[in-house]
Subunit: 195 residues, 2 copies
Amino acid sequence: MEEKELEKLIGSFMILPGVGYKTAQRYAYRILDLDKEKVEDFAKTVVSAKEKIRFCSRCGGFSEGELCNICLSRHSKIICVVEEPKDIASIEKVKNFDCLYHVLNGCISPLAGKGPDDIRLKELLMRVNQEDISEVVVATNPSVEGEATAMYISKILKPLNIKVTRLAQGLSLGSDIDYADEVTLSKAIEARREI
Amino acid sequence: MEEKELEKLIGSFMILPGVGYKTAQRYAYRILDLDKEKVEDFAKTVVSAKEKIRFCSRCGGFSEGELCNICLSRHSKIICVVEEPKDIASIEKVKNFDCLYHVLNGCISPLAGKGPDDIRLKELLMRVNQEDISEVVVATNPSVEGEATAMYISKILKPLNIKVTRLAQGLSLGSDIDYADEVTLSKAIEARREI
């Protein structure tokens, strides 16, 4: 019995991650509550962002031009390798760590049919050869696939005399040993440090 | 250091209720992941819904035309009075209760400077006089203001020989007596029924 346009509006919000019917309904009611201008601005912003944001031809991160702001303005001998463009934003939040980035667009995952040629490894190798790079920090996810990808990167870069590092694994700050899973604990014990 | 358009896109999602920076960021990344056509469809649906959905001239609920689907197609002697257009959807979910609706657009709230003339009470009175109505079910929220509004409606409709009822208050199904607040419990005791 609901109006058709309202149902369409609710349905349209369900393309967003984690948004079910109930949340979509709340969003739809907010849209109907807002001024027409604000709604039009919102729609315009979404379409224009989708049109303008593409990928940096060097690092593969989000960019409005040929090269992203980081590639254009930052000078560093460190490349941080991440799986997805959005991972860059997370690492950027860490202050005092100035690095360039390289997005793989996934990781090596035989189960998903993704081999070394399906991610941006050739591009990484090319950059390491051409740019003045001293260290590659592999910041792939701490999953089996991320781990395998890190090992692979280390294997192909070692012959070039490049220092390859991996983000440390262990207990999260503020977490509870009680709730830590066995694998994390075992990694934390393995990598224990003298104090 | 993030791209400007990306920041604008993230900011634009924060007009939605309960959406902070982190959630807006997730939504923005989903938009960048989707096909261009899907994003354009999404934007079009939002704008077109905002343009087409207005309020039913009779009941005040959401409508695409002069009258909403419920007012056009349903015949009932019962009017259910609600505070907001969106409340209609909640009551519609209850099967076996066929009623017409009347949206007040708020409720009497002296603290917010809202008196009886600021909500659609005149319109309700007019409908009760003109249409063939036998019962008015007041489904305002179980708050102090909703309660006051219900009492007021009862007062103005009683002289017209209209049955005025209010949704029952008591324990929610599946809830725990342990966690029920005192007011709810007191209402539930007050309205206890013989079994």
